[in-house]
Amino acid sequence: MKKVININFQGRIIPIEETAYELLKQYVESLRKYFALEDGRDEIINDIEGRIAELFSERLKKGTTCIADNDVNAVIASIGRPEDFDAQEAELGGATPNQNQSSSSQQSQQKTNSSQQNYSYGSGTNRGRLYRNADDKLIGGVASGLANYLGIDPVIARILFVVFFAALFWVYVILWIIVPSKSVQSNITKRLYRSADSKVLGGVAGGLAAYFNIDVWIPRLIFALPLIVGVFSGPFGMFWNDWDMWWGPRILTGSLSGTLGLTYIILWIAVPIATTASEKLEMKGERVDLNSIRDTVKGDLENFKSKAQNFSSELKQSAAQFGEKAKEFGQTAGNTAKTFASEATPIARSAGSGVGHVIAVLFKAFFLFIGGILALALLGVMAGLFGAGVVIMPFKGFFLESGWQSVVAWSTLLFFFGIPVLAFLVWIIRKIAGAKKNPYIAYVFGVLWIIGLISFISLIAGIDRNFRGGARIQNDIRLSPIKDRLTVKVTESNVRYYGGWMNFGDGIRFTEDSLVLSNVGLKIEKSLDSSYHASYTRYSNGKTDGQAEDLARNTSYTVTQWDSILYLDKGFSIPRGEKFRNQHIMVTIQIPIGKRIILDKSVNRKLNRWFSLGNSRGRWRDWDWDNNDGYWINGDWNNNIEYIMTPGGIESIDRMDEQELKKGKYKLKEINNSNTDHENSENDQQNDTDTRQDNKYRYRPGNDSTKPKTIIDTVVNTSTTYNDDANKDEEKEDSREKNSSVLNTSLYVFGRMFQQ
């Protein structure tokens, strides 16, 4: 149901639907704008309106009751839209409005009294004030309005807003609210195109050269340089690089070429190619008026010369003839004043109600903000995963079976993680550059991503299978008798790796031929007899239990005793060719009651940063870490402090009552140094578990002293320090730990992912 109104249109009564009337009004308005600078524009508009009215009445005569949307659209299609004239007139080289304008400024030099006629096209009609551009906008027209005001390309303004999204977001919103909107005639005609004339691959370099007004060889060289370097370094690289011919690491070494290559491809997809004369002019940033079009045409023709010289020179002549002719028109017509020029663009339709505008803008801005944050976060995650994937790819041999699994891993990396990033970048740039919609790009990206998704799922399934089996091997360490105090230190593993080319922090380290893991846990228990005992257990997963057992057996780990000092290896290595199947070590030290232990700095510094896939209840078997009664030491574990084993658990020696201790009794000091202990003991009565969290090593009188084992279950992830007297380096170490902890955590998450 639509409302029909009657209009008097060029002397005819036309019944027309309201929506169709709006369409018609917009169309006539756009024509008026287009011919604004033209002589006799009223006449032209009148003629066209008359013709439209005639077409309408023909339709009405045929039996249509009233003019509907599709009637108006059909008529518009027949008369043509201003964009169509643009194309056609540019091609025709006929007198465009701009041409008349330029000739009128020539004319104005002859006239004496016309100061306002010094107006020339493109000199910034609305330079004096800042407007939001109502005609050329993506969101609020702020960027293009600003660009117009500052005389720069809107694309640049938009890219700045996108790149500095966080910083400029509120600037944008505020400008959106306070700056009035107006159709600003752009004085910028320069746009980024791909050059059709000077292209090697996609014309990107040519377009950039034209845009920045530099020689075309400069961007070409920049794009080609990494490729050239890569080609040359490739063969030579083999001498100093022991990598097999696998090309994965080259992505890293050639990250520059990767970036540039990706940039090129994105621009190739996103930037439109300049084909028509007016597009070519826009590419070079010249004004689209008759002279420049003629020049371009001439240029084209000169190119063509070698092919058909005779023909082209004829055309050139006629083009020149046209130019002169058009100038003549312009001069004769120039007498009519151009006062309309300055008011060429109609004043913004309505000021609008201020408050409503603000609310609407804030509303839009809110969603824009949320959307932007979400998109950025998603993009960041994807890019991060992609980056991590690329980094980890060289070591996929440790994780994956060869063959299809590595194919699937690559396709996951490229398609599942890479495609969304690429698609987002392409979308942004196309949006900024104002490229027309192209559904095929979306289809292609969609299909590739689905492929990536399928790869991802089968990769996960494959990895899951790799970890199905489990095994553990326990080895006792024969200890020579220790008096009453054991010191535990961590050494470098028997093989040292200096300057391994990639270091993931402390948990995991890749060297050229092996994966070094510090996946070692330390557990302290109460001894059942009166002497110290130590043992270590090697755990592994595998496709089958048999494979897991082999892998566990192949893990080499040593614990050595020197007097009363126990040296633990910092880790173990998995040679290239072997697989990483979650091998890890648990060292267990049993302390008899009344005996003491000191954990050296080298042990506890790395507390709470460890890397294991194995401490959750999964389907995988033999994850027996015996931490049923242990707890993670999350708080500060003081360096070089003596601890003593009491019937109730391990306790810092400082907190024991010395007198009582001599008598063979285990009692806490009467007066505690800190208030928190008082509080804790109060809490103790109310809730035992609370205290356990607050103070893990407290002596608990009410505790069952016959509880068999595991008082402390601490996990030691030992240092990567290269010298044993590491204390000096401690601070440096600590800062590095912080950096690496993120990666460790992500690797941990990665590991957990395998389990799910």
């Binding site: 003629d47 023909e58 005779n310 023909f311 028109f329």
Partner: protein, 131 residues
């Protein structure tokens, strides 16, 4: 250089000539001009034609008069002025020369190499222009 570009270069030069040719045969109504040109496979928007006619009229090449129509308000019919007639003559001469030259070149069958004698290989297209 692609084919559409070349084609549009060629068309642009002849648009006015075509319009003159149509109007010269007698007073013409713009939409009839468009119809005729479309029938001859020269596509043009009315939105392009009207401004062109107005410009030519302002340049005294064309004139018009109102003719009553039986279906509504009077219509504008365009005709050539004396100045327009002269202009048409010039265009026509140019066109004929051009058409002749192009046809002659386009229809020529023998290849250039057959006309080159061993001693005279310096023939190059640049020297054969009519400039």
């Amino acid at each position: 250089m692609n084919i559409e570009n070349t084609q549009s270069q060629m068309r642009k030069g002849i648009l006015e000539f075509c319009i003159f040719s149509i109007i010269r045969r007698g007073e013409a109504y713009p939409s009839d001009i468009v119809e005729e040109m479309r029938a001859a496979n020269l596509h043009i928007f009315e939105g392009t034609l009207y401004p062109l006619l107005t410009r030519l009229k302002n340049a005294d090449m064309l004139t018009y008069r109102w003719i009553e129509s039986n279906s509504g308000p009077p219509r504008k019919y365009f005709s050539l002025t004396a100045k327009g007639e002269d202009f048409y003559k010039e265009l026509e001469a140019t066109w004929n020369e051009l058409a002749h030259a192009v046809n002659a070149l386009a229809n020529k069958k023998e290849s250039l190499t057959t006309t080159i004698t061993p001693g005279n290989i310096t023939i190059n297209p640049e020297n054969t222009t009519t400039n």
